[in-house]
């Protein structure tokens, strides 16, 4: 699949957030920082976008309309096509229970809002590096 391809290309990030101001903010900063970005406004759109575009990483707000971020993550992780895409949960509920729930749903990491755009970029970099390292070691 795309594991070796993405090394040379701009990484593709899927930003999922129902609040346009935050979603567009992260999108703009990610583009500024050299990423390719696609957006989704709810869990259902996120799944569709993930299946059709195969992003390198997904930034997932958890409280979403139509289908929330926990459910979307659970479905992405249950789907053979999308289960290897790392999911970074991003939420305003900074409670221990939420981060635990996010991990149980299959999120690979967790960030609490407020999260500055450069903090998000740092986390994306870290996750993508970790992913590459795992692939190099033969882990999947």
């Amino acid at each position: 699949m795309s594991a070796t391809e993405t090394v040379s290309k701009k990484p593709l990030v899927l930003v999922v957030d129902d609040f346009a101001d935050n979603r567009e903010m992260y999108s703009e900063y990610l583009s500024f920082s050299g990423y390719e970005v696609i957006e989704a406004r709810n869990g259902k759109e996120a799944i569709d976008a993930a299946q059709t575009r195969m992003p390198d990483i997904i930034i997932m707000d958890l409280s979403l309309p139509v289908m929330d971020g926990w459910e979307a993550t659970r479905r992405l992780k249950a789907d053979e096509r999308t289960r290897r895409i790392p999911v970074v949960a991003l939420t305003g509920h900074a409670l221990a229970g939420h981060s635990k729930g996010a991990r149980e749903a299959g999120c690979d990491s967790f960030l609490a809002k407020p999260c500055l755009p450069d903090q998000l970029v740092a986390e994306i970099k870290r996750m993508l590096e970790t992913g590459k390292a795992n692939i190099a070691k033969g882990k999947r």
Partner: protein, 223 residues
């Protein structure tokens, strides 16, 4: 509840940081300076929101403290810098009185700052004219620090001296109408002071002014 507070703040802090980072081009020095104030005040707002959310955690006994050693002088400088626009607007004189050779404080810096900021903001708000003064003393024998915020403001009547520390309460409703505010400031201060092993003392004369004093152990202990 936290989600409703943090989502809009996320956008405020994020866009401010992007502008300061030059994402939409370089800004002039005065623009940058003003935006830095937006930034520091948004961060302060965030810390207040966090403190309010923390009240529930204090009540539930699940409140983490982060003790460290720090200088009160630096902390007061930061506070006065943040409050400068407010002080200018209120046309008040301010004065800081720190005794030389003041020892550093070992406590939760953010919480001490929050308490003194609350006391200072109140002093400015409730002082139509005159002076706001911060006086810091260390009492070596009793191992306590006394941070007194003194104003020449409207004062608190004897019958209201307990009431002003209650949640969502000010001296009376006319005060809320005239001066605004949620009436949570002193309630938070008292809880935080008690968590740090200290207390807030109040001396006041109606119409003459008030002295709110934060008394805390110089070296706080984890409880």
């Amino acid at each position: 509840m936290s989600h409703e507070f943090r989502t809009p703040l996320n956008a405020i802090l994020g866009y401010t940081s992007m502008l300061l980072g030059g994402v939409s081009g370089e800004m002039s020095a005065p623009q940058k300076q003003k935006l830095q104030r937006v930034d520091s005040n948004s961060r302060h707002l965030l810390s207040i929101i966090n403190d309010i959310l923390d009240i529930s955690r204090i009540e539930a006994g699940k409140m983490p403290l982060h003790f460290e050693e720090f200088e009160l002088r630096t902390l007061l400088n930061e506070l006065f810098a943040e409050l400068e626009p407010l002080i200018q607007k209120a046309r008040l004189q301010t004065l800081t009185e720190l005794l030389p050779g003041l020892p550093p404080l070992y406590s939760d810096r953010q919480k001490v700052k929050q308490i003194v900021l609350n006391l200072l903001t109140n002093a400015i708000k409730f002082t139509p004219q005159g002076c706001v003064k911060v006086r810091v003393r260390a009492d070596d024998e009793r191992r306590e620090m006394r941070i007194a915020v003194q104003d020449t403001g409207i004062g608190v009547a004897p019958q209201d001296r307990e009431k002003v520390f209650e949640d969502f309460r000010q001296a009376d409703n006319s005060v809320t109408r005239e001066y605004g505010g949620a009436g949570l400031g002193l309630a938070i201060c008292r809880r935080l002071a008690s968590m740090l092993g200290g207390r807030i003392e109040l001396e006041s004369q109606l119409g003459r002014g008030s002295i709110f004093t934060l008394v805390i152990p110089r070296r706080g202990k984890r409880r």
